[in-house]
């Protein structure tokens, strides 16, 4: 029996769609593979505030999800930080069982980032990927038309661009899938809009192996 929780920490509005794309695409792929999966957003964080910390959740299991009515992942096996600075901000490692994976979007190396991680002994691997550079992302509002209206606090409702992971989500999905194998690469790859960034990221991951847990 396998049960995996994935929590994505992202920034309200400006990176809301990125976080949503990660959990939605992974849970959809899992369902295609015949697993039980669930993805949801956290509304209690008030994600309509620009830059505020927002969480997105995903659960993948071989069996029926017992806790499908709980809206928070208590024991995330995988944590993704869509914006690197969040590493200093929250206790995103809370509840992580030993053997977890932390994926950070940053141009810094894992050697540098490990100092900010609370309780790194629980990690099996720390993965840094410069997703913003790989996807040529500009942290600015002038690409609104291109990226969709979700930057206007509609949380996807008025999105013009319906594609999944057109931007920095693609390298992050690649990092999660490659390092954890939560879903199969061939299931998720057709969904990704920014295929170039997805493929480039597969070869540009900075992985730091820490404390693997014997299966």
């Amino acid at each position: 029996m396998s049960y995996t929780e994935l929590t994505v920490w992202t920034r309200g509005i400006i990176m809301d769609k990125e976080g949503r794309d990660i959990v939605n695409s992974i849970s959809a792929s899992a369902r295609i593979e015949g697993k039980y999966a669930q993805a949801m957003e956290n509304y209690v964080d008030n994600p309509d505030r620009t830059n505020c910390p927002t969480r997105k959740y995903c659960r993948v299991s071989d069996e029926v999800l017992e806790n499908e009515l709980t809206y928070e992942n208590e024991h995330p096996n995988i944590v993704v930080l869509v914006e690197g600075t969040m590493v200093k901000g929250w206790d995103y490692m809370r509840g992580m069982p030993p053997g977890g994976t932390l994926v950070i979007n940053t141009h810094y190396t894992p050697d540098y980032m490990i100092r900010f991680v609370p309780g790194p002994e629980r990690l099996a691997q720390l993965v840094c990927v410069d997703a913003a550079k790989i996807a040529d992302h500009k942290w600015l509002y002038y690409r609104l038309g291109e990226l969709g209206l979700d930057r206007l606090s509609t949380e996807g409702a008025a999105e013009r661009n319906k594609s999944i992971a057109p931007d920095i989500a693609a390298p992050l999905i690649a990092a999660v899938v490659k390092t954890t194998g939560i879903v199969k690469m061939k299931t998720i790859e057709p969904m990704i809009a920014n295929k170039h960034a997805f493929e480039v990221a597969l070869n540009e991951l900075h992985i730091m192996s820490l404390n693997p847990v014997a299966v």
């Binding site: 209690v44 505020c52 590493v87 206790d91 980032m113």
Partner: protein, 610 residues
């Protein structure tokens, strides 16, 4: 629906989803830091303003303009005195590289920095005692040879460091080039006298009429003093190497000015005078010649036009206004006359290289011109006279052999000023000599204290780009012009041509300063911050602080900083500022897990009668 008499289970008494405790409640304070919203942290980082960078002695120009703006004249004077011993002199004679570099020059007109400096210098002159005090005596004796700008500056700084300084001056009066090279209508003698007096008040002994090599030797200096600064300047005039240069009526620029300055001049100029040379000294000579009774003064330069002349454009403008004629692209090849000058022979000429220190190419094939004159004043620069110097410290170019710190070998002898800077590409101006004197004094102090001399390695960030500041805060405003003596009055007197600023004018001019890249406590960041994240115990540079627990990194202060002092630094570059904030809605681990347990049990319970 009423909640009256509702039983609140224990697990709901702590804050939970949707309820945020007030800051007054327990744990409420933990929830409110917003610093973890930030990816960019604003940092106050003062850059170097271009004026400060361009100044030969790196005066803190932005600093004193800011103080003048606030009416703190004495503080401003004290600040300027850190780098400049005689602001009243440079406020009159400086070629103001600071104004050329001023960023305001790209916007409307450069700030009249020199005039403000003069205002402060005159203020200092009026004080009964100077703000600068000698340092605690350290028992070491230093000799300074020469009392010109470099010697004056070195002696001043050394006295402030606690050395017992003795200055040796060849002339009967101290002052060097300030005394002998600058006419009275630019720098009145009494101003310089007062500055020399200030120097003596610092405990410096000035011995005039003592010439190195004649009255005092190298060995005397070595024996009697712990260290020595050689700031003898360039004393020997360069020759034009023309035939008949030794005829009566041929004068050399600096000695012509020096004799007038010392009051020992016996020169009687004829009606027509030619000044050879295109620099500042040549301009001073031409204007002085008018005041000495010459009717027609012509300046003959090798430079093809006024732009190429190594002179201050303002002085050039004033000179032309006073009626001096210019003749470009000519070189004197012979001085004609029977014992006394009657005419010059001129040939077309140009510099063979790109700079005007390069050899001159004279077109000998072109027909010679005869230029009728009664006197010729040659002002084409000077060279050093180093007969007294041991041969081991001379190099093949006739200058002093020294390292980049101004030190002569392993000795405690240092060289400063023109004698050290000649050939370095640095313009040989008063302010550069002052700066050199200052640096040499600090180097000497290090050597005396047994420290190692090291070149400065700190990278300097100078603001040259107006886009690094917020120009919306600066309305266009014209430069306050210094009043000038009317042209017709000028040639008859030795009165100062350029008039001083009044207090109001100085403040108005200082108000125009952008304060490029340096916090001038304008309080803008404090006012624009949407959160109360900026604290300042006092309104002053260096007292502003960002409260990093609460700064969200919205960049408003960075964008709105008028001077460009605030900059955004990636938060991850800092090891500090970690705010492990629990999210507002689950402050303790497992809270929602317990809620989940309740939810699981819902099915087993009978529906509540609400």
């Amino acid at each position: 629906m009423s909640t009256k008499n509702t039983h609140i289970p224990e697990w709901l008494t702590v804050p939970f989803a949707g309820i945020t405790p007030a800051p007054s409640q327990e744990k409420g304070q933990d929830l409110f830091p917003t610093g973890n919203w930030r990816s960019i942290r604003p940092v106050y980082r003062d850059k170097l303003p271009p004026c400060n960078n361009a100044c030969g002695t790196n005066e803190k120009i932005q600093g004193y303009l800011d103080l003048v703006k606030r009416g703190k004249y004495l503080d401003a004077y004290a600040l300027i005195k850190e780098d400049m011993p005689f602001p009243s002199v440079t406020g009159r004679v400086c070629y103001h590289p600071c104004e050329q570099a001023c960023n305001r020059g790209k916007y409307d007109e450069a700030i009249s920095i020199r005039a403000v400096e003069r205002f402060l210098g005159d203020l200092g002159q009026a004080l009964t005692s100077d703000v600068v005090k000698p340092g605690k005596p350290n028992g070491k004796k230093v000799a300074v040879v020469g009392s010109g700008p470099a010697g004056h500056s070195a002696a001043y700084q050394l006295a402030r460091l606690g050395y017992a300084v003795t200055i040796f001056e060849k002339s009967p009066k101290a002052g060097g080039l300030n005394r002998g090279g600058i006419p009275d209508w630019v720098l009145p003698q009494n101003i310089l006298d007062r500055e020399i007096e200030r120097l003596e008040q610092l405990g410096i002994e000035i011995k005039t009429g003592v010439e190195v090599g004649k009255d005092i030797t190298w060995d005397d200096l070595k024996k009697n003093y712990d260290a020595c600064v050689l700031a003898v300047g360039l004393t020997e005039p360069n020759s034009v190497r023309a035939e008949g240069e030794d005829k009566e009526g041929v004068l050399y620029g600096l000695s012509f000015l020096r004799d007038i300055g010392m009051g020992t001049s016996k020169v009687k100029l004829g009606a027509r005078v030619a000044v050879i040379g295109g620099g500042n000294t040549a301009i001073d000579c031409a204007r002085e010649a008018l005041r000495q009774g010459a009717a027609e003064v012509t300046m003959i330069t090798v430079e093809g036009n006024t732009k190429e002349m190594p002179a201050s454009p303002e002085d050039l403008h004033d000179m032309v206004e006073e009626g001096v004629e210019l003749l470009h692209g000519r070189s004197v090849t012979a001085v004609l006359g029977n014992g006394k000058v009657e005419a010059c022979q001129l040939h077309k000429a140009r510099f063979s290289g790109a700079i005007n220190a390069s050899p001159i190419t004279v077109d000998r094939d072109a027909p010679a011109e005869r230029f009728v004159v009664d006197n010729v004043i040659i002002a084409i620069g000077q060279h050093a006279s180093l007969n007294w110097l041991p041969a081991e410290f001379k190099n093949e170019r006739g200058t002093i052999k020294m390292d980049k710190f101004g030190r002569l070998g392993d000795t405690n002898f240092f060289a400063a000023g023109d004698i050290a800077q000649v050939g370095s590409g640095q313009p040989l101006m008063v302010v550069n000599a002052v700066g050199d004197g200052k640096r040499v004094a600090f180097n000497l102090d290090k050597v005396m204290r047994g420290e190692k001399l090291q070149p400065r390695t700190i990278p300097v960030d100078v603001i040259f780009d107006l886009n690094r500041m917020n120009m919306t805060y600066f309305p266009h405003f014209p430069r306050v012009q210094q009043e000038m003596l009317p042209t017709e009055k000028r040639t008859k007197t030795q009165d100062e041509v350029i008039q001083a600023f009044t207090e109001e004018q100085a403040v108005e001019e200082a108000n125009r300063c952008f304060s490029c890249g340096t916090c001038n406590a304008c309080d803008n960041c404090y006012l624009v911050c949407p959160e109360p994240c900026i604290a300042r115990p006092e309104r002053s540079n260096g007292m502003y602080k960002i409260l990093v627990d609460y700064c969200k990194g919205c960049r408003v202060c960075i964008e709105e900083c008028p001077t460009g002092c605030l900059e955004g630094v990636p938060e991850l570059d800092f090891d500090t500022g970690v705010v492990r904030m629990d999210t507002a809605f689950a402050i303790s681990p497992g809270l929602h897990g317990r809620q989940a347990q309740e939810l699981k049990n819902l099915g087993d319970r009978p529906a509540k009668n609400i």
